[in-house]
Amino acid sequence: MTTIAWQRRRATVRATWREFASQRGGLVGLIGLAVITVLAVLAPLVTDASGLDVTRATAAPWRPPSAEYWLGTDHNGRSVLLLTWWGTRISLVVGLAATVLSVLIGTVVGIAAAHFGGWVSAVLMRFTDFFLVLPSLVLAIALSTVLPRGLGTIVLAIGVTSWPATARLVRAQTLAVEARPFIERARALGGGHGHVIGRHVLPAVLPLVFVNTTLTVASAIVLESTLSFLGLGDPTRVSWGSLLHAANMHGAVSQRAWWFLVPPGLGVVCVVLAFTLCGRALETVLNPRLKGER
């Protein structure tokens, strides 16, 4: 019984992969993500973290790109290339952690709202709608201002503000699944809430959640860079947003220091685009209605 189920699952995964691989955009995004991840993991092995220390900076400040410093130096004389490289780590980690939190909240709320119905659903959906219209940056700013600065705060602020879209999506999908006869069969055979949700609803909802996750990561990374740019990030760590914050505070625009402005922003754009491309390709694979339309 289980082996047949697993064979079928493996076949589905293979078919999904084939379709995904047939889309150029998705493949480009996936390769981009792989490269960026490898770079982020390799940073402490290949480079020397002491170059990030302001007190040990040796070069002159605001130096344009040269053979020694490929991307020039910042206002403290640190290498922009090194800073941007290390910034990848925080941006990715915060983006992923915030997404996990957001998708977790969204999935729990969405499934609970659809499965239990009645007043639970009414209250939860009212709550979701409220958070959906609330401008997320405004709430995230408020949260990260009143909580102590740090990575945890940023993750919390992004996670708490970006779950409602996932919740709505998961609720709709759960409702569609629970209307099907095999759920009624499971209930008739004595399956409780835990069984129905764990064995039937979750497996059917998860692919959709996964697609949603890739798209959520993209917006979480943008939100992280925005909060750090406003000076709400972890002051002890380098992220793309905090680099741009420093660039803005120390007048990189009036210094015409394009080499300090361009790399961190380009990093954000590349990661966000890669996630978005992957997400859109996955969406096309899993949603047959979109086939041939994009």
């Binding site: 709430l139 009143v146 402005l261 685009l273």
Partner: protein, 318 residues
Amino acid sequence: MIRHLAGKVGGALVSLLFVVALGFLLFRVIPGDPVVAMTRGRPVTGDQLAELRVRLGVDKPLGEQFVDYLSGMVRGDLGTSHVYSRPVLELIGERLWPTVLLVGTSTVLAVVLGLWLGIRGAWRRGSRSDRISTGLALAQWAMPTFWLGMLLSLATGDLFPSGGMRYPDTPPDFLSQALDVAHHMVLPCLTLIAVVYAQYLLVMRSSLLEEMHADYLTTARAKGLRDDLVRRRHAVPNALLPTVTLVFLHLGLVVSGAITVETVFSWPGLGLLTYEALTGPDLPLLQGTFVVLAGAVITMNVFADLLYRVLDPRVRAS
């Protein structure tokens, strides 16, 4: 219709109450002692802390504070700014018009640009211009607003003022003042448009694509209508409906954009006020901007819902 209207307005009122309560929770309850949060990193004596507590009204029990806060809201009293030592509502009132001017102008331009490109893209789906404009829209969507603003500022050099809303030495007559403000507004406006129009483009494009295979378009063509007329009179009006609501639903996004754009270009609006409040941190001021910005977006959403009913006869009938 009346019942629906009452329901929507009632729902929005509940949401506004939520916002007010959330404002209290965020700025009075979560920080523990708001005074400590506000003076973080600065040397202050115990006496100064106690005095600040009395001035902000946070020396009382939480329940009493909440009652004070609510009655203040009803009277239109949002408290007093810690940094400016002026009523928060007065500060917000001063900064409201620059934001409305900036956000209004860029939203209108972004909608026009987004819809036009979206319609063109969907009608000639898969053409080179469609691929380019969709790709560009995706790339722009991925860009952090503030980064684009800084790049624009860097690229245009001294062509446009780098910040503010007007030069101090402009003659006071209306024309020169208006031209000066327009000159200052070019870059912030362009930045906001670039970030927002992509959303409208993608929505308009996909919503027109859904209409493309509809039978009534085949009928219209069979009648012998020109391609241009089929698009303008039949397809676009139907596809426009979901887009209209989206214009309003994305106002939250525009508000976020305004905060960062105003910060980059020192545009003296609500966004810059929010930034000033968070760097303080000036909690009463931040609380005020939070309530006002969130309230504005919620109000706009109700408006969008009502507008949708007016525009779409199918929703009205049901």
